[in-house]
């Protein structure tokens, strides 16, 4: 990458909580079970004692686990009190909300459970993270379905750019829940068998698989690495509603312009990107749209581009773009494509991978692009 790349924030530490690599059958609240990727064991959360952890909701625990790993990865920050938290979650701690409401229905509102209510609040995970690590900076939770994490990352970068915060922990976290499985089954989101996903490689397959997980990123001002090593950087992030009603109708040329615009703001051209990482999830219409955009990108870049997918490793969930970003950061940090990413296209002739463009075409009606460089 050239020196003209505009840097929004340096990534000082990454923490990732991935579900099991093979999908298993999970119980929905009613009817047949649903295959999906789930975390069979929830992660440690560093400073939070096990007893306290047991009282928290699943999304809180996933977020805390990712936050703990990110803080370990960066070795701590000099002034934790100033750290801000910016978290994206599509559904929050749905398990806790459901449990509180189930109790209301069963008990005819006689004995509502306060702990469940406290955990049901959408910002509970961000608040618990702040309490666990003593982060007293701004604390925001974005809850806008599948773009929740991108919004949280945008906010985090904005806090760094404007100097409102020296460090921000940006987190994406979402849990699997029997009601989520049920709703997806009724709406026809899921496939019926538990064969692992192979996004963009299963023509004719219908449906994706649900998943869960979390990723956290401690970001700060560029150049803040004490050892002088080059740090991965978030060089740009943009998220917008789609003009079209459905991803089926997107114009690939418009998508190329959307991507080109973000890259141009960062001083990069389409052909300079070492890896385009797509959020394809195995659903036929969505995969077809990604494939169309990939072809248009290749054409616009003046040659074949290298593409990768990652949801075969975690399934589909609202905060899944955070998983993609973690894999992108690992990739530019090591120079090698992370093993969780499946790639196609020219392999760069052994050159280190120093730039990844994470692109999502959300079926909820949005698109997003995030540029990671080193």
């Amino acid at each position: 990458m050239g020196p003209s790349v505009k840097v929004k924030a340096a990534v000082l530490g990454v923490g990732l909580v991935l579900p099991e690599p093979q999908p298993t059958m999970l119980p929905a609240v009613k009817g047949a079970p649903v295959p999906g990727y789930a975390c069979s064991e929830l992660p440690d959360a560093g400073p939070v004692p096990a007893r306290a952890l047991r009282r928290l909701g699943r999304t809180q625990r996933l977020a805390l686990g990712a936050a703990h790993r990110a803080m370990e990865d960066c070795g701590g920050v000099p002034d934790p009190e100033s750290v801000a938290v910016s978290l994206g979650t599509g559904l929050g701690t749905l398990d806790e909300t459901a449990a509180f409401l189930e109790n209301l229905v069963e008990g005819e509102e006689r004995e509502p459970k306060p702990a469940r209510f406290i955990n049901s609040v959408h910002n509970a995970a961000a608040a618990q993270t702040a309490m666990a690590f003593g982060f007293r900076g701004e604390n925001d939770t974005f809850v806008h379905e599948s773009i929740s994490f991108e919004l949280a990352l945008w906010q985090g970068c904005r806090l760094i750019e404007t100097g409102r915060s020296r460090h921000v922990l940006a987190i994406g976290a979402d849990e699997l829940n029997p009601y989520f499985l049920l709703a997806g089954r009724e709406y026809g989101w899921w496939r019926k068998d538990s064969a692992p996903l192979a996004p963009m490689d299963e023509p004719g397959r219908q449906g994706t698989l649900p998943g869960e997980g979390a990723a956290a990123f401690l970001i700060g001002r560029p150049g803040s690495d004490p050892e002088g090593k080059p740090l991965p950087r978030i060089a740009g992030i943009r998220v917008r509603p789609l003009k079209e009603e459905s991803v089926r109708n997107v114009n690939p040329a418009d998508e190329v312009e959307f991507i080109r615009g973000l890259l141009a703001d960062a001083g990069v051209r389409l052909g300079h990107i070492d890896l385009y990482l797509f959020g394809a999830n195995g659903r036929a219409a969505s995969d077809a749209a990604y494939a169309d955009v990939g072809r248009a990108l290749s054409e616009a870049a003046g040659g074949g581009i290298r593409c990768g997918v990652f949801k075969q490793r975690c399934g589909e969930f609202c905060a899944a773009p955070a998983i993609g970003l973690a894999l992108a950061v690992y990739t530019v940090r090591t120079g090698h494509v992370a093993p969780e990413i499946q790639c196609r296209g020219p392999d760069g002739a052994g050159r280190p991978v120093s730039s990844v463009a994470l692109y999502h075409l959300h079926e909820t009606g949005y698109h997003s692009i995030c540029l990671v460089t080193v």
Binding site: L101, A127, F142, H144, P241
Partner: protein, 413 residues
């Protein structure tokens, strides 16, 4: 500006209630609950003007609640409240004449704490009590539903986000929208908050023993908790250059915003109020102002023992023991959760325009621990800058500063 609360459907109606010192608290009729009648709530009712206006009485839509008045074909109650307020704000800002292309650039940032949970409760009751699976009731469950309904209704395709910082959500949405404008992501953003009453929040706050049986009395010595409410408020935020270029009327400036986290407890505020104080100071720094520049504080003032004391301590520190006029307007509207920060921003702007300080309704005897005397009755003031505070579960603190245009650049309402 657009606003809908238990105290009125327009800024004028809301201000009339403030002048008359009439609380919007009353009996819960929105849904059945064993808690009905045990504590008052601030439920949005049929248009009060429609009840007294014979012409309006003949119009079924004018007599109806949010669902009929929003113009939205279907949505949760929160969606309807949000869309109603957004439409009013959009018109008030003179944006109705905008064509499709211009509207596509306009953003929406909305705060909500529970979104369409009232419908989701219906889904669960049907499933558990009748063994009927009706996933259509989950269509509006996601918190993004109100923002999407606003954007869809008005044809807006710019930056869109939903913030859920508990009871600080509405204020945080306005602060975030300011950042959207400053970053150049948009020139115009509709921002605010919306929440409806629901069994989840009603029972939740009751389980925490945080609801006052006779209505909230912020800063009172015998305060016994909050009163729940519902509503929405939206403001059109615009870069000043853009607003001037199109000749828009400017109601007020958002002069500064500041946010912090207590990192102390899941529900209780940090007792010394130090992080709330930091949020207020951050807002002042952002605005380049001193505490002495603040002429009025619209306090978060929920009426809970802990919140009011922590906020009072922060205010006494910030203003060196001599705060400007302070009032909490929660007894007018109830605690509308994510809508509160947006509603109170609109109320603060109205106060600046009318040069009147809203009453701290419900006050009988000030808790001496507060150290200051909130404004007991709506009264005259000399107001240029108002601070409005919003604090929430999880220790979220957000302070906004709004400033009245003091030259011929803007015009009041």
């Amino acid at each position: 500006m657009g606003i809908v609360t238990a105290a009125g459907w327009t800024p004028e109606e809301v201000w009339s209630a403030i002048e008359a010192e009439e609380s919007g608290l009353g009996r819960l009729t929105l849904f059945d609950s064993p808690r009905c009648g045990h504590m008052p709530v601030a439920q949005v009712r049929d248009d009060p003007a429609a009840r007294s206006d014979p012409a309006a009485r003949s119009d079924p839509a004018a007599r109806s609640g949010p669902a009929a008045r929003s113009g939205l074909r279907e949505g949760s109650r929160t969606d309807h409240l949000a869309v109603y307020a957004a439409r009013r704000a959009f018109s008030d800002a003179g944006l109705d004449s905008f064509g499709d292309a211009d509207r596509r650039e306009i953003g929406v940032v909305l705060g909500t704490s529970t979104g369409g949970i009232l419908d989701s409760e219906g889904f669960l009751r049907r499933l558990m009590l009748e063994d009927r699976l009706d996933v259509s009731l989950l269509r509006f469950h996601l918190c993004s539903s109100p923002a999407n309904a606003v954007a869809g209704t008005l044809g807006l395709l710019g930056f869109r986000a939903t913030v859920s910082n508990a009871c600080a959500s509405g204020a945080t949405a306005i602060a975030t929208a300011c950042e959207v404008l400053e970053s150049g992501e948009a020139e115009i953003v509709l921002a605010g908050g919306a929440d409806s009453l629901a069994r989840l929040t009603l029972n939740g706050f009751c389980s925490l023993l945080n609801v006052a049986p006779d209505g909230c009395r912020p800063f009172d010595a015998e305060r016994a908790g909050l009163s729940l409410g519902e509503g929405a408020a939206m403001v059109v935020l615009e870069s000043e250059a853009h607003a001037r270029a199109r000749g828009a009327r400017i109601h007020a400036y958002v002069a500064g915003h500041g946010s912090t986290c207590d990192a102390y407890h899941a529900t209780a505020p940090r007792p010394d109020g130090s992080r709330a104080l930091a949020a207020m100071r951050s807002a002042l720094d952002d605005a380049g102002m001193n505490p002495t520049d603040v002429d009025y504080v619209n306090a978060h003032g929920t009426g809970t023992v802990d919140n009011d004391l922590a906020e009072a301590r922060a205010l006494m520190q910030l203003f060196d023991g001599h705060p400007p006029p302070v009032s909490s307007t929660k007894r007018f509207f109830g605690h509308t959760l994510a809508a509160a920060g947006a509603i109170e921003t609109v109320v603060s702007i109205l106060a600046l325009h009318r040069q009147r300080v809203p009453a701290n309704l419900g006050l009988r005897r000030v808790d001496p621990a507060m150290g200051f005397e909130p404004i007991g009755h709506t009264s005259d003031g000399d107001l240029t800058v108002a601070m409005t505070n919003s604090f929430g579960f999880g220790g979220n603190n957000c302070s906004l500063l709004v400033e009245r245009p003091t030259d011929d650049r803007g015009q009041g309402t």
